[in-house]
């Protein structure tokens, strides 16, 4: 026989101060157990030893806009960036024309931001992208509509990095889808060719393809025909990315149940109709998140064109560092480039995570 005594005062009692609020949170998350307490203390010591000096170096003692005053100073010398920003961002693009790549980049960013919301994905948007990409190309290249032509040898910096990754992915995607369909095909010859291509490309590092683009591609072309270096690197990046996209798309194709194929067939659709109307719309939806990861790695991988001496963002930064006036400020310069890459990739990966959650209809 238990007797429950209900104390009216107990109803209004608050939980003990040590289990709610800041103290409670700290007890639950930082000091739960001896081991975790030691871990917390050690981590805090580490943070106190590294963070304040870093903040002092990077912000408090830093030089932001001064010219030569940096040398011998204690703090970071961000002047290496501010004094060379135009060269780092635009490379050798002619000074008076630099509004054009800037406009192209803004256009790209605008399109990307507008396309974030999935409810806006429709035909007009696809056309807008097509028009946008073409006008970006025209803005960079010029020679039309009264714009002075700018040789592609003068392209560089961030626009080049974006160009290589965005155009690379746009062109690689259809190729990747075709390769994935080929790999799933029942025609032995087609299947074998696709498997050989995909495994060959995936087995070698991108840099070997870039070497190929810079020294072997010219030999492939008939006498008198030359492709410029950027286009050759772009072709290498497309061929490389397509193989990875093919594998991602294959994953999507394999996730479509057999019944879908059979149902399409029983409706009398032929192969291309089945793929276009039934299979691909479902498969491509599944593979949107992994495709964004491929975009991220393609974006990071474009930095490899440094090795074949194209002036992308990393290379322009490096060439600023080889200027005697700015020699020795590598840490500042590389941190700046790292922040640029990080911000772009962070947005993309966050977006991919959000999409994954939105598209997950399993619950």
């Amino acid at each position: 026989m238990t007797v429950h005594v209900i104390d009216p005062a107990a109803e209004n009692l608050k939980p003990p101060a040590t289990s709610v609020g800041v103290v409670g949170w700290m007890r639950a998350n930082l000091f739960n157990g001896v081991f975790n307490s030691i871990l917390t203390v050690l981590t805090l010591i580490l943070l106190f030893q590294t963070l304040p000096p870093f903040i002092k170096w990077a912000f408090i003692d830093a030089h932001w806009l001064s010219g030569d005053a940096c040398r011998g100073a204690d703090g970071a010398c961000w002047s290496v960036i501010s004094n060379n920003l135009r060269f780092i961002v635009f490379g050798f693009y002619p000074h008076p024309e630099q509004w054009r790549p800037l406009l192209a980049m803004l256009l790209l960013v605008g399109l990307l931001f507008y396309s974030q919301n999935r409810s806006r994905w429709n035909k007009p948007l696809a056309w807008a992208w097509l028009v946008g990409l073409i006008s970006m190309g025209i803005l960079l290249k010029g020679g039309l509509l009264g714009l002075t032509a700018v040789e592609s040898t003068q392209w560089g910096g961030l626009p080049l990095t974006l160009l290589l990754s965005v155009f690379g992915l746009t062109a690689a995607y259809p190729l990747g889808v075709v390769l994935a369909l080929g790999r799933q095909s029942r025609m032995r010859v087609v299947q074998t060719l696709c498997v050989i291509y995909i495994e060959l490309i995936r087995g070698v590092p991108l840099i070997s393809l870039l070497f190929m683009s810079s020294v072997v591609f010219p030999l492939f072309l008939p006498e008198g025909v030359t492709l410029n270096k950027i286009l050759r690197a772009q072709v290498a990046i497309i061929l490389f990315t397509a193989a990875y996209i093919a594998e991602v798309v294959r994953g999507g194709l394999q996730a479509i149940p057999r019944g879908q194929y059979e149902a399409a067939e029983s409706m009398g659709l032929n192969y291309w109709q089945t793929m276009r109307l039934v299979i691909l719309p479902q498969a491509l939806k599944i593979v949107i998140p992994p495709s964004v990861s491929i975009l991220i790695s393609a974006f990071k991988d474009t930095s490899l064109v440094v090795i074949i001496a194209l002036f992308d963002l990393l290379k322009t930064t490096k060439s600023v560092l080889s200027d005697p006036q700015w020699m020795g400020f590598s840490a500042e310069a590389y941190i700046f480039v790292a922040v640029v890459y990080f911000v772009c990739c962070f947005f993309m990966s966050n977006y991919s995570r959000r999409l994954e959650k939105e598209l997950d209809t399993s619950l």
Partner: protein, 396 residues
């Protein structure tokens, strides 16, 4: 899309050959093959014409010629008078060296960060998350440049070398470490360790058999640790316990003695390990999370001790999820080691690149790079297939 031959009954036109899917597919395939062959013929004939016109040598005859360039670091004896073949072999070994050490360190660091990510300690978990997010999103080449600049610009010259721990010197000439002075005891200790490994393996097999037969367990772990530590220690004591150390000391502008790690190698290793470990940490985290909580609880309710729960229930299931993506990250690390060419570590791509520049035989050079990396990939996927077969779920 099943191939169902149409019965040749009433309509003659229906049995035309192009109405038979099997025959039609043969025609398509022949067409594709023809197109690929034409493309290949076009490219090859262009290449042959260009090679002829620019009088570029062809074939692999250059491999036997004298390389006449020095290589900074090498695992096998090499001089500029050796052949290109030997120079390339040095490159392959250097690639394997950085990949092997890199993979071991990556797995250790990645596992640590992955476990830290799952820690109930908020601070530790956040720090691991920041590490993973930041390092994944910065191109590995940029990280390599950063560490390379770190070694060359930010570290002091050998005269003012940092000395964080006794016997270790950090300067812009790289990392110098004290090693035990050469003594025959060290060789024999190596053999003793090898023998101990063999014994532990035999012991484990015997213990498993005995357990299967009689149900009696045997403390394999502790006796194994004892063997691995004890046997070399015994040899060391038998040789009179030599303790002399070969400590690096300044001689002129650089260090003498001890063993050194070049700044190029250190920068490459550091960059690759920190970058890849971020991906490995995510894989480890996902692997551990994939084992449902019920498994741990069920194992505990059977009365298994925490160590056994981890060993017999959680790890075998987590590893099944972890190993396949982990091997592909190992392969990625190996492929990314080719970026060594950008910071001057003489890996295979770097040596092949020098060879291309000297001989002008780009096709052969690039083909060799591709073949070597394809071999690495094929070996990895062979391992994967074997492993997948070994751990495949046997369902009833």
């Amino acid at each position: 899309m099943a191939a169902s031959a149409s019965p040749p009954d009433t309509d003659l036109s229906a049995s035309r050959f192009y109405n038979d899917p099997a025959k039609r597919s043969l025609i398509y395939q022949a067409g594709v093959l023809l197109m690929v062959a034409l493309l290949a013929y076009y490219l090859i004939s262009n290449t042959l014409a260009n090679v002829e016109r620019q009088s570029i040598a062809t074939g692999f005859g250059f491999l036997e010629k004298e390389a006449s360039f020095e290589i900074g670091e090498s695992l096998v004896p090499y001089s500029a008078a050796d052949t290109y073949a030997r120079a390339l072999w040095v490159g392959v070994l250097n690639t394997l060296k950085v990949s092997f050490i890199g993979i071991v360190l990556t797995v250790l660091l990645g596992t640590l960060v992955g476990i830290a990510r799952l820690s109930t300690n908020w601070l530790v978990s956040r720090m691991a998350a920041v590490y993973i997010e930041v390092l994944q999103d910065i191109p590995v080449l940029l990280q390599l440049f950063f560490w390379y600049a770190f070694f060359y610009e930010m570290l002091p010259s050998p005269r003012q070398a940092l000395n964080p721990i006794a016997g270790i010197f950090l300067s812009n000439r790289g990392l110098m470490m004290a090693v035990p002075a050469s003594h025959p005891a060290w060789d024999f200790m190596g053999w003793a360790l090898l023998a101990a490994v063999g014994l532990v393996w035999l012991l484990r097999r015997w213990a498993r058999k005995r357990q299967a037969r009689t149900g009696q367990g045997f403390p394999v772990f502790w006796s194994g640790v004892g063997l691995l530590l004890g046997l070399p220690l015994l040899v060391w004591l038998l040789w009179g316990a030599p303790t002399e150390m070969d400590v690096p000391h300044l001689a002129g502008f650089n260090f003498k003695g001890g063993i050194g790690i070049s700044p190029e190698f250190a920068a490459l290793l550091l960059g690759l390990v920190l970058y890849t470990a971020a991906f490995v940490a995510e894989i480890v985290r996902a692997g551990i999370q994939s084992v449902s909580k019920g498994q741990t609880e069920a194992a505990k309710s059977l009365g298994l001790r925490p160590g056994l729960v981890l060993n017999l229930v959680v790890l075998p299931q987590a590893l099944r999820v972890i190993i396949p993506p982990l091997t592909s990250q190992m392969l990625n690390l190996t492929k990314n080691s080719s970026l060594a060419v950008a910071i001057g570590y003489p890996d295979f791509v770097s040596v092949a690149n020098t060879t291309i520049n000297q001989t002008g035989q780009a096709i052969e050079g690039v083909a060799m790079i591709m073949i070597v990396y394809l071999c690495f990939s094929l070996l990895t996927s062979a391992f994967m297939n074997w492993y997948n077969k070994k751990i495949a779920l046997v369902e009833r």
